[in-house]
Amino acid sequence: MPNPELLLASKHSEPMASGHSLCAGCAAGVIVRQVIMSVEDPVVVANATGCLEVCTGVYPVTSWNVSWIHNAFANVAATLSGVESAYRALRKRGEIPAREIKFVAFGGDGGTYDIGLQSLSGVMERGHDLVYVCYDNGAYMNTGVQRSSATPLGANTSTSPAGNLTSGKAELRKDMTAIAEAHGIPYVAQSSPGYYMDLMHKARRAFQTKGPAFLNVLSPCPLGWASEPTDSLVLARLAVDTCMWPLFEIAKGQFSLTYLPLEKKPVVEWLKLQGRFRHLFQSDHQNLIDQIQSGVDQNWQKILERAGSAVPSFAGPADSDRWGY
């Protein structure tokens, strides 16, 4: 049985042309292509201000082969809800052809967790038929790696520096996926481009969902994570295998764990490939590493309890063809 997502992607026209200026190893472009190529219908893309926006459209050229709008930093959700409202209004009056169009917003964690949270919350509450994708690289990378509320505990950023008296970010990250879920929207999922079939499958479900869908996608960033560009997708997988970034979905309130690692790796394996955590290994910061590990463990325990007996049977490499592991 051929995989429907892969079949579609193989026939899909290129939504975002090469020649953009995203860094080598940036996962944002990978995420964009995996998401858009999982849907047959034409899409309108909205972009929050940020890396993806800056790197894909500078007059007089654009990387976008699909209709695209960038408005400002805080309002990608509201902007796209305006496009979607216009679509409904114009279709209702028969002023545009009765043709199905899908709407997808891309915002970084700054534009989603922080400055754009209110705008996104409003859109989720109002129930617009659109997909919101957060590419979460855990800091304000476009402006030079400043901390955001998505930055993990202990990460060294330019506004939460590791110094003589400090050990990087002192606070835990915000659980944006849970905030989205609390809006009671029909589809919420967490995914990673390292497990591309997981992401494409979820993107497809998100587009098929009537109403707002929220995808929180981990997006490794060689610049901000101080990691090797060739390690980006390795990091995207390790985040999942260490259970730091569990893969799950909540469809119409039904929680499903979509990936259960055969072997839960220690979080150190994820941390040690990233320069932003280097200070944790250089000085006596074992307590902070322990704290990070115990945070991951607690969260993972909650996820497992929530999944109950519905833990996926397709876990691990045995089903690698289906899930791209």
Partner: protein, 444 residues
Amino acid sequence: MTASRRRSKTKNEVRGMSTQSVPQDRADSDRSRKEVVLSGNMAVAHALRQVDPHVFPGYPITPSTKIMEMVASFIANGEMQCELVAVESEHSALSVAVGAAAAGARVASATSSQGLAFMWEMLYIAAGSQLPMVLAVGNRALSAPINGFSDHGEAMGARDSGWLQFHSESVQETYDNIVQAFRIGEDRRVRLPVMVCLDGFVLTHTSENIFLENDEAIRNFVRPYRTEYTLLNPDRPVSYGLGDPPEFYMEHKMRQQAGMERALQVIEEVGAEFGRCFGRHYGLLDPYRMEDAEVAIVILGSEAGRVKNVVDELRASGKKAGVLRIRFVRPFPDEQIVKHLLPLRAVAVMDRSYAPGAVGAPVFQEIRSSLYEYRGGAPHVINRIYGLGGRELRAADVRTIFSELDSLRAGNESVPAIRLVGLRGEPLPNWRDQQAFKMPVGQS
């Protein structure tokens, strides 16, 4: 704004403009119009009902809330097809507007004061992206101190955001301006967003007899909206909001400027067509008894009516006084204003906004600047700042200003160039030489 004042309004024959508010001759086809009592907010809402834009994003704020409420009610009762997007902030309201306009929809919204301030970022983006839309602004003072009453501060702050900016004198004119605003902003020569200002409470909440035109006639006048570049044509994708490097930014700003400059002509064309259709003619300015005036007050907004009444009094006693009401702050019709002011001896520009630290308030600054190249023959120009935070402008205040102009004509140099009207306590003798000012505690 009495009926007698309206009847005595004179036409500006030279410019071919008139702003007769009550048409004397009503064409047969206009019999279906209704004379109704409406507040400014209700008049705006009815204009929007008749135009029926595709999308109305809105967020409640006093004193313009009623507009959104009525739009919601019209939709709820099937009188409008418009999509109401009840957003969670004004920032989102204008963000929705930008998205919808880029998708090819006709868009309208309403706000006031802090709401306009919260839209600030998006004002520039709507204008810079050359997306037509209509925004009714119920003018109200900006905080702090929080006040909530009529004042042009927020509109003046937004004057450089790239929006066309109407200021209405009456409820009828507000209604007419909303209808014209769609045509003007959507004109291919302009393609810019339009703000239609109506003074908070004085116009938003005060009821007036107005002519509510026939729905069909209004729809025919505004015409269906079609735009070339939309996000909703998958066969022809477009990118909106690209980064603009230094090589192009200035040229794109000049396209906005070109739209503004062409708007001067479009405003007059649309105003004239509106006059032909509905009997009420509009131009850029509303000159009142200016033909042989020697002194005049320049003003915008609803208080123009009070000044016109004082001018009638002064005329009756033989004084050659006039009023030049400005209908548009953006584009600023400097040439037209200068033509009216050059023959005068002394002019007071009345601003209902305040610019701390500046040399007078915004309209005064622009008018004095416009007159600079005629400095040999230009009139004296003084600035009278009135009505901040809803402070009442009394007829006596206006009489005082006219007597100051007389005094200025007579060569009295002690007349202050800039002064707040109706300020309690010790007056500021000179804007640039401020004495300690004590707030009169406990006085009312």
